[in-house]
Every structure is written in structure tokens, then in C-alpha cells.
């Protein structure tokens, strides 16, 4: 059991694009990032993981002082055609403010699950693998996204 990669959840993205018309809105400030430890093994496939609060995201959540269950919202989210340097180049980029929480204490955050908290299903959007366990002790926990954003899709490779 381990987190080895970041990824988008195909089950959700298929439901966004097909007749289901799942109403995931990446521009909402209600989308959240919750933290999980390295016990989980994400499954990004179409028949895999679906939502926050559904296995494997029903357990192994990392919480603590100033980091409650459910996580924190992502501020000022943007979706645009930009590769992080140049606009209108056929790259779909999702970005948001960096995450910064002061005086936080928790143990073993290995990854962040971004999900649609505004939807009843809390649909999983993507997982960010931190690459190591992070355990702030009454200190600032921060996630600085790359200039290429939280994720980017090259739609014109």
C-alpha cells in the first residue's frame, strides 16, 4: 500500500464529459484538498476511486491542529489555456492559490486529494503525491504549486 504518483480520477472525468454531465466546477472556491497518509493506494482508473469519504478515502485521512477533516478550500481557482509561461498554446491549466496554514500540527501527510465539496458525492478530482511524509509541529504547512499549475493537460501534443 503506497502513494506512488499523482493523477486525475478517470471515473469523475468520464462522468463530467459523458451523459452523466457531473457538475464539477473547477472555478469554485469550494473545492477542497484533504490530506492522506501513505497507507492508501490510489486507483485512478475508470473503475477505481471515486470520492472523498469513499474507500480508500474513508480512512487514513491526516488531521490535526488547524487542519480539520475535509481539508481546506483552494482559493482563487483558475482554468485557462496556458502552459505556465505562454497563453493560448493548447494546454489546459488548473491553478489556485498556494496553500498555507499556520500553527499546524499533524503527522504523515503523504498526498492531497482535491475534490468537489460542493457536490453531494464529494467527487474526487485529482490526487497530488507529495513524494514524502510531511509532519508540521506547530508550524506552517504550505503547498506551493508549480507555475504550470496544479495540473495541466496538453490537448495538442
Amino acid at each position: 500500500m503506497a502513494v506512488t504518483a499523482s493523477g486525475l480520477y478517470l471515473a469523475t472525468w468520464i462522468d463530467i464529459l459523458d451523459a452523466t454531465q457531473l457538475a464539477v466546477d473547477l472555478s469554485l472556491t469550494t473545492n477542497k484538498i484533504a490530506l492522506f497518509n501513505n497507507t492508501i493506494t490510489p486507483n485512478f482508473a475508470g473503475n477505481g476511486d471515486t470520492a472523498y469519504g469513499v474507500a480508500p478515502y474513508a480512512t487514513n485521512e491526516v488531521t490535526g491542529t488547524n487542519w480539520a477533516a475535509g481539508g481546506v478550500t483552494l482559493g482563487a481557482p483558475t482554468i485557462q489555456d496556458n502552459d505556465g509561461t505562454t497563453a493560448n498554446v493548447g494546454v489546459l491549466r488548473y491553478d489556485a492559490n498556494d496553500v498555507s496554514v499556520a500553527s499546524a500540527t499533524f503527522t504523515g501527510a503523504r498526498c492531497g486529494l482535491i475534490y468537489a465539496d460542493a457536490l453531494a458525492g464529494n467527487n474526487a478530482i485529482l490526487l497530488v503525491n507529495f513524494g514524502a511524509d510531511y509532519s508540521p509541529n506547530n508550524g506552517t504547512f504550505s503547498i506551493q504549486w508549480a507555475s504550470s499549475g496544479i495540473f495541466s493537460l496538453d490537448l495538442t501534443p
Binding site: A109, F141, A146, S148
Partner: protein, 67 residues
């Protein structure tokens, strides 16, 4: 003057409430201004001056007294 983030949120709300072409254009302009400023700031941060990661940078600080 409102911050870029405030301008973006106002434009986003205005577009959601009244999805005209004009509001859409303002929404996109505010989005691009905020996004460009954010990307430029990250590129100049000390942690990643070369902006070569392509990944999120996670930092977990400890209380100075516990060091």
C-alpha cells in the same frame, strides 16, 4: 484598489450571475491577470528560482522551540 484576486472573484461572480459575452471577457481578463502574477511570483520564489520542478513544493515547519 482591489487586489487581483478580489477583482477575479468579483468578475467570476458577475459572470455566473449574468453570463453575457462582456462579463465573460472581463472574467477571462481578470483570470489571466491573476494567473500571470501568480506564476511570475512562483518563478521568483527562492525555493525554486529556476521553476524547473513541475511539481508542488510542500513544506512542513516545526515550532522553533521543538527544534
Amino acid at each position: 484598489m482591489p487586489s487581483l484576486e478580489e477583482q477575479y472573484e468579483e468578475a467570476a461572480e458577475a459572470y455566473r450571475n449574468d453570463p453575457t459575452d462582456e462579463n465573460r471577457e472581463k472574467f477571462h481578463e481578470a483570470r489571466d491577470d491573476l494567473s500571470d502574477a501568480r506564476s511570475n511570483q512562483r518563478r521568483t520564489e527562492e525555493q525554486d528560482p529556476n521553476n524547473s520542478r513541475g511539481q508542488a513544493l510542500v513544506v512542513a515547519e516545526n515550532d522553533a522551540e521543538s527544534e
